[in-house]
């Protein structure tokens, strides 16, 4: 194993590197807790390594794996200039005397770690020493326990509702009508509510795209700070995933970023396939690309619709125009898998079934028409003076800040960084297609608008190439341990029948190991971290939602702008709260 990163780390910190392993091409370095900060700085600053992007920070409770110490934090690092990855793992020695295991915070090295560490603190109960504001992020402030720990049961928590407590009609609900313990609400640090006007934007607000709450500190109409408060939609996808078979989690992925179901499906099945070591037939790969790119267009269309709507007011016509075209994409999805929004369109090892006969023509017709529509949208907005004045110079996020905050996707590309996983680390045969990565240098909301429009054009190019060069053959792997045999084969072969039976009663069992899978979603990098203990159920399932990470930039972007600009900003970050809260 001659990975330059590992060699360098070994020579630099000979005592600290406790273990090195590799599984399915993912290198994992186990470091001691004491050297974590030094190693992190070294990995970021060394000119040969330059791990400037902290893709993900998570933690594992290894109680049932029988590994001591019980908790470990995991850092997935990526170097944008060098295009390489490494995973750090830091075991956290813990004696039961202290309430939580402790880990040094890496927020000063990668500011992106801020929310990730809060999430690990919240859900896994890990104390991060040196974190600027360690509070629960997804669960309510008064929650007892840490849900992702293995000794935390699934379900069975009391649910507090204060409403209708005295109403006899609800008496039979019993415990559900208990009064929740009250706790003082806390303003984020540094917010001055004496001299400034603090308004609660959300959770019910037309421009927050879901249940996002922003505590906005205003001086007149000028924003002093805008602090996002999330978690209203938290539904424990990770915990659920750790209690379901691999295949059964695919429907959950639809419901994270529900505007990009296909892309979520793709990222997840790719990760599971990586864990299993399964090859997917080329036809399935091409169809996946078509579906993912159509979904990207649909997601960007929805973004454009709501963005124009937020910036303009109730009745800007673009909202309806964009939804009209998105409708056609959803029709194509319906043709393929019967569902429109929550598609569950892909399955591990390929696709559930081949595309119907009318599919290619429908896609071609859409590609042909959509080019014209795109020009229509541009005519309405691109040179419109009001649109320009509302977007230009609003929310400048420079490349350095963007990378430090872990921001990916169109936001990063609008800052001039040409980083796209479809090019950098091609998956699902994206390297077969000819397309560009649109970038801009202004890094403001208008640049992000232009980048997303150009991305739609590029997606059209990819779809066109893929549909025209669609190879023949099967759409599902013939690995009978992963994909069920065709119906007619079961009648003839006893072995097939056994495979079928085993697959549906037990599921497939990946080997022991851990992988990290990433894919370029419309909103940025979607990452899945899977730890397998050899059973049919993932031991640890972690989701890195691009919306969650990108949302961290809100406060930085909003400072000094007007309240009206906050609406532009939320739109131009392009978040889906289903993914933020998971």
């Amino acid at each position: 194993m001659n990975n330059p990163t590992i060699e360098k780390l070994k020579t630099q910190f000979p005592d600290a590197v406790q273990d090195v392993s590799e599984f399915r091409g993912d290198a994992v370095v186990t470091l001691s807790r004491e050297t974590l900060l030094d190693a992190a700085r070294f990995l970021r600053d060394d000119p040969d390594l330059q791990y400037n992007l902290l893709v993900d920070l998570t933690s594992v409770d290894r109680r049932d794996l029988g590994i001591e110490p019980r908790f470990a934090t995991v850092y997935e690092l990526y170097s944008i200039p060098k295009n390489h990855r490494v995973r750090l793992k830091v075991p956290l020695p813990w004696d039961d005397a202290t309430e939580m295991p402790e880990c040094p915070s890496v927020t000063e090295v990668w500011p992106a770690a801020n929310w990730h560490e809060r999430e690990a603190y919240d859900l896994m109960g890990i104390e991060f020493a040196g974190h600027p504001w360690l509070r629960r992020i997804l669960m309510p402030d008064n929650w007892v326990g840490h849900p992702l720990r293995k000794d935390y049961p699934l379900g069975g928590e009391p649910v507090y509702f204060t409403a209708d407590r005295e109403d006899p009609r609800f008496a039979h609900l019993g415990r559900q009508t208990m009064e929740g313990p009250s706790y003082p609400s806390e303003l984020p640090e540094g917010v001055d509510s004496e001299t400034h006007l603090v308004i609660n934007m959300g959770p019910q607000h037309p421009a927050t795209h879901g249940v996002l709450r922003l505590a906005v500190e205003l001086e007149g109409e000028r924003i002093v700070s805008a602090n996002p408060d999330i978690g209203y939609l938290h539904s424990g996808f990770e915990k659920t995933g750790e209690n379901r078979r691999y295949e059964k989690f695919i429907p959950y992925t639809d419901r994270m970023d529900y505007l990009a179901g296909m892309n979520n499906n793709l990222a997840y099945v790719l990760t599971v396939e990586k864990l299993l070591g399964v090859e997917v037939p080329p036809r399935a790969q091409y169809i996946r690309v078509i579906l993912a790119e159509l979904q990207r267009i649909a997601s960007h269309l929805f973004w454009l619709a709501t963005h124009a709507h937020d910036v303009s007011g109730t009745i800007h016509s673009l909202l309806m125009y964009c939804l009209r075209e998105r409708e056609r994409i959803l029709d194509i999805f319906e043709m393929f898998c019967g569902a429109r929004l929550t598609t569950t369109g892909m399955s591990v090892g390929g696709l559930r079934r081949d595309i119907p006969g009318a599919f290619p023509d429908a896609v071609r017709a859409f590609v042909r028409d959509f080019r014209g529509y795109l020009k229509e949208y541009e005519a309405m907005l691109t040179d419109n003076p009001i649109w320009l004045s509302r977007l230009k110079g609003i929310g400048v996020l420079k490349a350095d800040d963007a990378i430090a905050l872990g921001v990916t996707g169109p936001m990063l590309r609008a800052a001039g960084i040409s980083f796209d996983l479809r090019k950098a680390q091609p998956y699902s045969s994206y390297d077969h297609f000819d397309f560009d990565i649109p970038t801009a240098t202004e890094s403001d909301s208008y640049a992000r608008y232009l980048v997303r429009l150009r991305e739609m054009e590029q997606s059209l190019r990819i779809v066109e190439q893929a549909i025209n060069r669609l190879p023949g053959g099967p759409v599902r792997t013939d690995d009978r341990k992963v994909a069920p045999p065709p119906r007619e084969e079961i009648d003839r072969s006893m072995e097939s029948l056994i495979h079928h039976f085993k697959l549906y009663t037990e599921g497939y069992k990946p080997p022991v190991g851990e992988v990290y899978g990433m894919a370029e979603n419309p909103k940025g990098v979607l990452g899945f971290y899977l730890v397998s203990d050899g059973s049919a159920i993932p031991y640890r399932l972690r989701v890195r939602g691009p919306s969650f990470v990108n949302l961290q930039a809100t406060n930085l972007l909003a400072q000094g702008h007007l309240l009206s600009d906050l609406v532009t900003l939320i739109g131009s970050i392009d978040i889906v709260l289903g993914e933020v809260d998971r």
Binding site: V311, S317, L381, S564
Partner: protein
């Protein structure tokens, strides 16, 4: 109206003329303040929803009544049955007074609106000045509503409304001054009589300024900052419900009609048109039809703008008002005043041509100044977006 008075006195010979006049005016006022709101709101909400729907490739209301035409009545019934809510900590008196004021401020303007030949509440000698003066009441209503609601969003909206309406009242008044200067009177009847050629064609710049300032005055898109629902939710009326909310709604749509009506009177020649005259009932009816047609045309233009324009930001809006509309207005005012006093433009036709030339010159100067300013600040964003890594 005099014709009706005559008819009344001939019908009841014992009735004195002043009594008949009083009765006619009371009936007219009753129509304006009770029937007109209902008819106008129902008609224009329906029209607005249909027009916007067509622009957006939708159908619009089509359930209640034939073609959905009873939608407005359905909405009104819904409003009447809603719970009336007063937020805790609201200033009750002001809070309850504001919706009423919003409607009263508009109804008062009707008094000087010539809707047909001879049909006008009272043809005041300072008619148009009265319109400007009374228009301030609507602003007061919004300010009162925003302040008394005890809601931060409503308060922000109240801030905005003061800034916006002050900024746009001034260009509007300048545009009105230009018209008054040209017509030589502030009386509505005289202004209409002066328009042998509608002022739209001789004073296009003044019309543009008046039209834009008018949209801002009513607070419609793209100047709908005071009720920007994506920013400050609904602004000043966020806490209102039921009939109190409906009053704001009525006020808004009547205001829409009234301001379009004033614009028609000032620039489109009011009720004037072939065959419209005060002499006969038929002529008066024809005049009313002309007035209505022109007004609806203007309202349609406002709806069109609403369907397709992004919203201004508060500072851009103020910039546009103070730094563009006001200077252009003043420039036009000076130019028009000069043209009117030029000795060799004695015949009316020559004077029209002179006014038009002056207006076109102002447009050219203004556009040149704007494009110069724009060129200075234009950045290269469009060019910088390029497909990298080809």
């Amino acid at each position: 109206m005099d014709a009706i008075v005559l008819w009344l006195t001939s019908l009841f010979p014992q009735m004195a003329v002043p009594t008949a006049r009083l009765i006619v005016h009371i009936v007219y006022a009753a129509i304006l303040s009770f029937v007109a709101p209902v008819v106008l709101v129902v008609a224009f909400t329906y029209m607005e929803r249909k027009v916007i729907a067509r622009i957006q490739d939708r159908v619009g209301p089509n359930r209640a009544g034939p073609l959905g035409m009873l939608q407005g009545f359905a909405d009104a019934i819904k409003m009447l049955t809603k719970e009336d809510i007063t937020p805790a900590g609201a200033d009750r008196i002001v809070y309850n007074l504001a919706p009423g004021l919003a409607v009263i401020g508009v109804v008062l303007v009707f008094a000087v609106l010539p809707v047909a030949p001879g049909v006008i509440g009272t043809d005041l000698s300072i008619g148009i000045l009265y319109v400007v003066a009374v228009g301030g009441i609507g602003t007061m209503a919004v300010l009162m509503a925003g302040w008394s609601s005890n809601n931060k969003y409503a308060l922000l909206s109240a801030f905005r409304v003061v800034a916006q309406l002050v900024a746009y009242e001034i260009p509007m008044v300048i545009a009105i001054i230009i018209v008054v200067l040209t017509a030589g009177s502030m009386r509505m009847g005289d202004i209409i009589a002066a328009q042998n050629v509608p002022f739209l064609f001789t004073l296009p710049v003044a019309f543009f300024i008046f039209f834009v300032a008018n949209i801002a005055e009513i607070g419609r898109s793209p100047f709908d900052l005071l009720e920007a629902e994506s920013e400050i939710i609904a602004g000043f009326h966020v806490e209102y419900s039921g009939m109190k909310f409906a009053f704001f709604f009525i006020g808004e749509y009547m205001h829409l009609f009234v301001s379009a009506g004033i614009a028609t009177t000032l620039f489109l020649g009011g009720w004037r048109g072939p065959g419209a005259s005060e002499a006969s009932i038929l002529g008066a009816l024809l005049g009313f039809v002309y007035f209505l047609a022109k007004t609806v045309l203007l309202i349609f233009a406002m709806m069109w703008v609403r369907g397709t324009f992004p919203r201004f930001r508060i500072d851009h809006l103020l910039d546009f008002g103070w730094k563009f509309l006001v200077p252009v207005g003043l420039l036009t005012l000076v130019a028009v005043a000069l043209v009117l006093k030029l000795p060799f433009l004695s015949s009316p036709v020559l004077q029209w041509v002179g006014l038009l030339v002056a207006n076109v010159a102002v447009i050219v100067v203004a556009l040149a100044a704007v494009s110069l300013a724009a060129r200075r600040t234009r950045s290269v964003a469009l060019r910088s977006v390029a497909g990298a890594e080809r």
